[in-house]
């Protein structure tokens, strides 16, 4: 009997190795860890409160997932992390064992592996090589949150949007191409920079008229990266300074 695609251990290990947490691990350890993982799929659009998932630790094998916070009174959401294949969640609950008030939304169909948090805590204790991947990943997540907090406090919407786009330049794609956010809705882009759909829409239309970006068929492309860089470099302080000078 031929093997079925998703039960192929080697292919799952190859996918796991895309994660910075699992990439450095020995094959034998990965095989052992696989015994504790459960394979899951989440359909595109699935939303779940983190209370549903806080007892498990997830590795994304394919697809994108948005982790955010919602204001229950207004329904407004801010995206804390846009997670991609190789990313894991929820690191915060894993570390402090407390519920994390966040909402998860599958942007694409997702393929995931999940393991009980107690088991993953055991890996942290027992396997220094797992820790060596885990700590830099934790640092990366903290840096993401620091960038978000800094952007929200220090920059205006135009600058935040320019910085968001530039942070998602595709290092492996053609020059100036984007990844992860290239096909997101204006609403989703707004949630990543603490604003709303209409503001993003207006800004992108303005940049399109300037020839800075091209938005067509639901995809975003950069036309003039230098112009976008200039917009990203402006801070709220310097803009206010300009206004004062003008005044």
């Amino acid at each position: 009997m031929p093997s079925i695609p998703f039960s192929d251990k080697e292919s799952i290990i190859r996918q796991l190795r895309k994660s910075p947490l699992f990439e450095p691990l020995a094959e034998s350890l990965l095989v052992d860890m696989l015994r504790h993982f459960r394979r899951e799929t989440w359909r595109k659009g699935r939303c779940s409160p983190s209370s549903e998932t806080e007892k498990r630790f997830y590795v994304i094998l394919s697809g994108r997932l948005k982790m955010g916070r919602i204001n229950p009174e207004t329904g407004r959401m801010v995206t804390l992390f846009l997670l991609k294949p190789g990313d894991v969640f929820d690191v915060i609950s894993l570390l402090d064992g407390k519920p994390h008030r966040s909402t998860l939304e599958a942007i694409d169909d997702l393929e995931l592996l999940s393991a009980g948090v107690e088991e993953v805590r055991r890996w942290i204790e027992l396997h220094p090589q797992f820790n060596r991947g885990f700590l830099p990943y934790l640092g990366w997540q903290m840096r993401q949150l620091a960038d978000l907090a800094g952007d929200l406090a220090l920059h205006d919407t135009e600058t935040r949007l320019a910085r968001l786009i530039l942070r998602h330049l595709d290092p492996d794609g053609p020059a100036n191409s984007l990844h992860l956010i290239h096909d997101l809705s204006h609403e989703a882009l707004g949630e990543m920079i603490g604003t709303v759909r209409v503001v993003v829409n207006r800004q992108l239309q303005h940049w399109q008229r300037e020839g800075v970006i091209l938005a067509r068929r639901g995809r975003l492309e950069i036309q003039e990266i230098e112009a976008l860089l200039k917009k990203a470099m402006r801070s709220l302080g310097s803009r206010n300074g300009k206004s004062r000078n003008r005044g």
């Binding site: 009997m1 695609p5 899951e40 799929t41 595109k44 699935r46 169909d109 393929e111």
Partner: protein, 168 residues
């Protein structure tokens, strides 16, 4: 109909039957359990088993196996044409609704639609179809998240070739 499911794949009929027994022993709601597979020879040329509105026709030698499963899971079975896949149990009523609604047209099959409706992604559903067509059997338990998680725990102990949870 819950739109989440746990799907386990088995290579042999013995393992499949053991999985059904394990679910029953664990107190699972058998009204949410289904089996999908193919007759051993893939044929539907000789009549022998008529379970739901005379829709299922199997070789004489195949009758006892599918009939016993159908009896175990509420007496419902359906041979899906033209793929010759057999569905037994709770998902038969879903299949009927999908067929009446004109689903399972040129681009998707009825079994793909059925698995999609209980939470599988299109990609997973197509993989399951390939698994069925290569002689494997699926045990599908649909329901709420706690129900499918519980089914996963039970079925994990029955040595499936693959097992996954699908959430929609």
């Amino acid at each position: 109909m819950g739109n989440n499911s746990c799907v386990a794949i088995y290579r042999t009929r013995e393992r499949l039957k053991e999985a059904v027994r394990a679910l029953r022993r664990s107190g699972s709601d058998m009204a949410k359990v289904s089996i999908v597979g193919r007759p051993a020879d893939g044929g539907d040329t000789v009549s022998g088993l008529y379970v739901v509105e005379e829709r299922i026709r199997l070789l004489e030698s195949e009758v006892p196996f599918w009939k016993s499963l159908a009896e175990e899971l509420g007496g419902m079975a359906w041979l899906v044409k033209p793929s010759s896949r057999v569905v037994v149990g709770a998902l038969v009523s879903l299949l009927e609704r999908l067929a009446e609604g004109g689903k399972g047209g040129s681009e998707t099959s009825l079994t793909e639609e059925m698995l999609y409706t209980v939470g599988a992604t299109r990609k997973s559903a197509r993989c399951y179809e390939k698994a069925i067509d290569s002689g494997r059997y699926l045990t599908v338990v649909h329901g709420s998240l706690p129900e499918v998680e519980r089914a996963h725990q039970v079925l994990l102990e029955t040595s499936p070739e693959d097992i996954a949870i699908h959430l929609a």
